[in-house]
């Protein structure tokens, strides 16, 4: 067998090599620092906004009291004797914090799913809601309510959302690819078709459902974190941890996939396996999000796009920062949904679509301009 030809230069043979290497190392370190700095800033913002968000509402609580309530809930100091203070603790830890936590978990899931999906489609316009995966997951979740399966346990709805999300993702993937590439037009049109079919399914379920189930379906279609419980967080969090953790293992291969399928496989990526794993993870993340909060569109589109501008397209840094930024964005949006209109809880999906829709359009125009029209 042919031994691998050694074509290496002794680095010290060229005095410039050390300088170049130094330059490069500096470059790489700068990139790492940028990612780390972005992460620290985002995490700090998450913390600040979380405390503020738990204090804002019909019954305002000072940030100091929010922190106090959290510490007391964790067992630092006994329960306050003052009934007012006890009420504050209940509002903060029983109602507001689960909502904050679920917003963070779902935001992280959606942004991570968007990052993964864009990498797999090699297309910055891929987004779970735009291409219909969220609708598919919502269809699955709705059916568990309408057919009464939901009584079987906490995991039924997320499982159905995951299964239908998976089928939809595979379908979109299969339908929108040709010759190893996904054209923007094909992707968006496939999304329209899939959204239409899933929408028809949801409409049918709404027609079949009783009043209570109907309300639940409307909730899924509009997307809201209202009424979040700690039990929701307890189910969603492990799913999202698995999803994001799994995605983190793929980042190197996802970078290679940006070169196109053929080139990625020439560089040793088992493209078929990578795709399947990534699609399962996307369905897992979207399913977890949709099952508890309904369709919250465009988070997976906007967040990775903005972070790519900040930390570059390399998927290691992008996934980490997008996950945290997604959590932050959904928390901010949900807080806004609670307080923008006094005494009303706006559907969160409405807000994200209001901002995300025009953003998507802008991105579409930009992509079109760069491509010189649609193929």
């Amino acid at each position: 067998m042919l031994s691998r030809v050694d074509l290496r230069i002794d680095r010290h043979a060229d005095p410039r090599a050390d300088l170049r290497t130094a330059h490069r190392t500096g470059h790489r370190t700068r990139h790492r620092r940028l990612v780390a700095l972005t992460l620290v800033v985002l995490l700090a913002l998450v913390l600040v906004v979380a405390v503020l968000s738990a204090g804002i509402g019909q019954y305002p609580v000072a940030p100091r009291d929010v922190v106090g309530a959290v510490l007391r809930a964790w067992g630092a100091g006994g329960a306050p004797s003052d009934p007012d203070a006890r009420f504050v603790d209940q509002v903060v830890t029983g109602i507001r914090l689960p909502r904050v936590a679920l917003a963070l978990v779902v935001g992280a899931a959606l942004a991570a799913a968007g990052t993964l999906m864009q990498a797999v489609f090699a297309n910055p316009l891929a987004e779970p809601a735009v291409i219909g995966v969220s609708s598919g997951a919502a269809l699955g979740a709705s059916s568990t309510v309408v057919f009464g399966w939901v009584s079987a346990g906490l995991w039924v709805t997320p499982t159905a959302a995951f299964a239908c999300g998976l089928v939809t993702t595979l379908l979109v993937y299969g339908l929108s690819r040709s010759g190893g590439k996904t054209e923007v037009v094909t992707l968006v049109l496939t999304g329209i078709a899939v959204n239409a079919v899933a929408g028809a399914g949801i409409a049918l379920l709404t027609f079949l459902a009783d009043t209570q189930a109907r309300e639940q379906i409307v909730f899924w279609q509009m997307g809201s974190i209202n009424g979040a419980l700690w039990t929701d967080v307890a189910v969603a969090l492990p799913i999202v941890v698995v999803g994001v953790g799994g995605a983190a293992l793929l980042v190197r291969e996802l970078d290679l996939l940006a070169l196109g399928e053929r080139s990625a496989s020439h560089l040793g990526v088992d493209v078929e396996r990578l795709r399947i794993v990534a699609i399962v993870l996307v369905a897992l993340l979207v399913g977890a999000g949709v099952a508890f909060t309904g369709i919250i569109a465009f988070v997976g589109l906007v967040v990775p796009h903005l972070l790519r501008m900040v930390v570059g397209p390399s998927h290691g840094g992008l996934l980490a920062t997008s996950t945290v930024a997604g959590a932050l964005l959904v928390l901010v949006a949900d807080t806004a949904a609670r307080v923008v209109v006094p005494n009303a809880d706006l559907p969160l999906g409405l807000l994200t679509s209001l901002v995300g829709g025009p953003f998507f359009f802008w991105l579409l125009r930009r992509t079109r301009r760069r491509a010189g029209g649609w193929a």
């Binding site: 074509l7 230069i9 190392t25 970078d255 070169l259 196109g260 560089l267």
Partner: protein
């Protein structure tokens, strides 16, 4: 960059690169009778190699294709193709549009499934390698250079190191990337975003990525299509150096003269079959080229190296076949 400059740069790299050559490389060099700098004395190179083959020890082919047949949607794209590429060799695949060059390269790369025949890499069936093993043995430069997200050139080239991650080789990633950038004249572009590059710059960056992969077998599909004259010569010169250091190179080219100047052997394809294979002088006869390409040509020797130069017969305002009876003697030309 002038040709002299490009070649000079290549020779420097080649010297350094060749210096590290191990077993396979040395054998390859012996077989082709040429050292790392030997390509400067290119006159009659192909013939010498050919003539020497019978006498010298021939290393096992790094690539062996036997009886390859490919069908796409009921159309036969390749039929009964044989190809051997030994360490130390640059083999150019030639032929008119649709002759099956890219398909043949795709088969060898493992992208296209063959209906008949075998492809062996290092005397093992291509299909028996897993994708990682394959990526450490053969690198491929495809025709289109597309990167989905705005990676920098340095990042794209560094992706070429992926097959060596988690191996001792990974320690040298930075040095290898720098060297690949230097060899392709893209050091100045290292921080530019890949999608913002021109076609030629993308091609050079993709070539740098291929170089960074450091494989003993290199497959390139029309790597010079978007390049200017200087960079065309530089690219072929670099391939030549790599071959001299023991690599096996298969390159699809459209420029027959370029192929004749730099390749050891040419394989001429027409409608999925090999019509001629051998040294440039053997393959590029006026009659054969005129016939295969359907256009009369004359072959003249390169004034400095003697390598065949293919010159299409060009006549303004009239059919060259009528005005040049000598070249129109090519039997394939209709109406003569």
């Amino acid at each position: 960059m002038s040709r002299g400059g490009a070649t000079g740069g290549g020779a420097t790299d080649g010297g350094a690169i060749g210096g590290g050559a191990t077993g396979g490389g040395t054998t390859g060099r012996t077989a082709t009778g040429r050292g790392a700098t030997g390509r400067r004395g290119a006159t009659g190179r192909g013939a010498t190699v050919r003539g020497a083959e019978g006498e010298r020890e021939i290393p096992a082919a790094a690539l062996r294709v036997r009886g390859l047949g490919v069908e796409l949607e009921g159309t036969t794209i390749l039929d009964g193709v044989d190809l051997d590429v030994r360490p130390g060799e640059v083999v150019a695949l030639l032929g008119p549009n649709g002759a099956g060059k890219s398909t043949l390269l795709g088969c060898v790369a493992g992208d296209v499934a063959a209906a008949r025949g075998t492809v062996e890499l290092d005397e093992r069936l291509l299909g028996s390698f897993n994708s990682g093993e394959r990526a450490r043995r053969r690198g491929v430069m495809t025709q289109e250079a597309h990167v989905a997200f705005p990676f920098t050139v340095a990042e794209v080239v560094a992706l070429g190191r992926a097959p060596w991650s988690r191996s001792p080789e990974a320690d040298r990633d930075d040095a290898v990337v720098d060297e690949a950038l230097a060899a392709t004249d893209t050091t100045a572009l290292r921080d530019r975003r890949f999608p913002s590059l021109s076609g030629g710059e993308r091609a050079r960056a993709s070539f740098a990525r291929l170089l960074a992969q450091r494989t003993p077998v290199l497959l390139l599909d029309e790597p010079t299509a978007a390049l200017d004259l200087g960079h065309q010569e530089q690219l072929l010169g670099t391939l030549r150096d790599l071959a001299s250091a023991g690599a096996s190179v298969v390159v699809v080219l459209h420029d027959l003269s370029l192929a004749a100047a730099w390749a050891d052997r040419l394989v001429l394809l027409e409608r999925g079959r090999v019509v001629a294979a051998g040294t440039p002088a053997e393959v590029l006869t006026a009659e054969r080229v005129s016939q295969v390409y359907g256009h009369p040509v004359t072959i003249v020797p390169d004034p400095s190296t003697g390598a065949p130069l293919v010159v299409p017969v060009r006549v303004r305002g009239g059919s060259p076949r009528e005005l040049h009876p000598r070249t129109s003697a090519a039997p394939s030309v209709p109406g003569v």
